[in-house]
């Protein structure tokens, strides 16, 4: 999975959790929770979405790495099976 595929996957999954979410608004460095007003339930659903789409195991301790857009992208690219 390259970065673009990761980015589209992330935005689609986010949209399921927060329909009105607009990725463009997320400034770099800002956490997804803050930018998109996600509470712990939303974030769990977001992680579940990513896991089911990519079957990448995401333990709770890795959550901080997924809290920013860039972190999320690189996390997915790094762990996705070789394309």
């Amino acid at each position: 999975m390259n970065t673009d595929e990761a980015r589209t996957l992330i935005s689609e999954t986010l949209r399921q959790v927060a329909p009105e979410a607009d990725l463009a608004q997320v400034m770099s460095g800002e956490t997804l929770q803050e930018a998109l007003d996600l509470d712990s339930i939303d974030f769990l659903n977001f992680v579940t979405g990513l896991n089911e789409a990519t079957s990448i195991e995401i333990p709770e301790r890795d959550y901080p790495q997924l809290s920013t857009l860039e972190g999320c992208v690189s996390y997915l690219v790094a762990r996705s099976p070789v394309a």
Binding site: A18, Q33, D39, I41, L44, N45
Partner: protein, 449 residues
Amino acid sequence: MGDFTMPSLGADMESGTLTQWLVKPGDPVHRGDIVAVVDTEKSTIEIEIFENGVVGELVVKEGENVPVGSVLARVSAPGTAAVPASGLAPVPAAPIEAAPSPVPEHPEITLPGPEITLAGPEPRRAPMSHSPVIRHLAEQLGVDLAGVAASGPGGEVTRADVERAAQAPPHAPTRASPLARRVAGELGIDLNGLTGTGPGGAVVERDLREARVPTSKVVAPSRSSGSARQESLRRAIGALMARSKREIPHYYLSTTVDAGAATAWLEKANLSRSVRDRLVLPVLLIKATALAVAKAPEVNGFFTDGEFLASEAVHVGVAISLRAGGVIAPAIHDANRLSLDELMLKLNDLVRRARAGVLRSSEMSDPTITVSNLGDLGVESVFGVIYPPQVAVVGFGAVTERPVAKDGLLGVRPCLTATLSADHRVSDGHRGGRFLAQIDRLLQEPEKL
């Protein structure tokens, strides 16, 4: 072979009675001859024939009533061999054998198979005769027994049923103006049982705007247009809070809770769960709050018409912030009896549906206590405003590393601030304090939640 048919003799004539034939089979007829007499409701009229010919079979007998246009007699072309009157044996119409013989009337029709008994959860119809005590009580409280749901073990109406029916608002449909109904739909306000300042006590738009409506009536707004809905929703909730502040004497308590045990247990528990089944901290907080109610029943119930009604059930309202602004607090019913996993499923479902604006009015209508968990958004401590007619709201702040003295040692522990806002008419600082302490104690043994 032409036909002579029943003529229409008037604008509203549908049928006529052939009272008299003036011709017989075999008679020659000419255009304009009077051949029969017909009775309509209004008059007796001689009817004429419009073509020349020879009268054939008289299809309709004297005295018969037939619709306009029916064939009265067959008329053959003029000059054809006059059918000897006697020879013309009317061909009898084929007797109708094919008609199915009517189903013979059987007095008792036995259905094959065992007598079907209505098993299963469906409560059997309550026996119509109620005990005299119940009938007397019903009369006293002005309750129509026919309309009362029976919860007794044998399907009979119990005293509690009658009392509940007596308290229940009359089922008269709420009077509300169409505009009020439309705005209520937009604001997600359930109009049942409300009275307003409009004509005859009808709810009018202004009543909704100035929030004379208890929060329990705030249901998910209907799916009308986004921005107008958000605007009206925010205004309605803002007004609600203002009223709550005005009318309910709040007192506030807060305590710091060591969340170490809880978060550690959570992490261990989630390790063995797939992503989808993982638990989140709020689930533990809600369960602890629900169980703690047993220690301080005065925080769980409704304050209406000047008196407090404690609630046996614990329906925890969970404050969910709507992305589009505004906060609503749908209830998780019987939170104190649900397992953590059940609570998790419920909470997840509630949040998703609240976001999508699809909530059942029952879910919105009867939380007995509310938990607001803005800690999720990093806020350390939060004092909620009570949702009338409830009498308490518990707030949980964010978990942060804090210096804590424990067993004489100074250490750093993950802590959160738990707060209580409660109705001073119902409970006081002492009772509230016992409640918060109990929540704290429960959170120290997460495995028992």
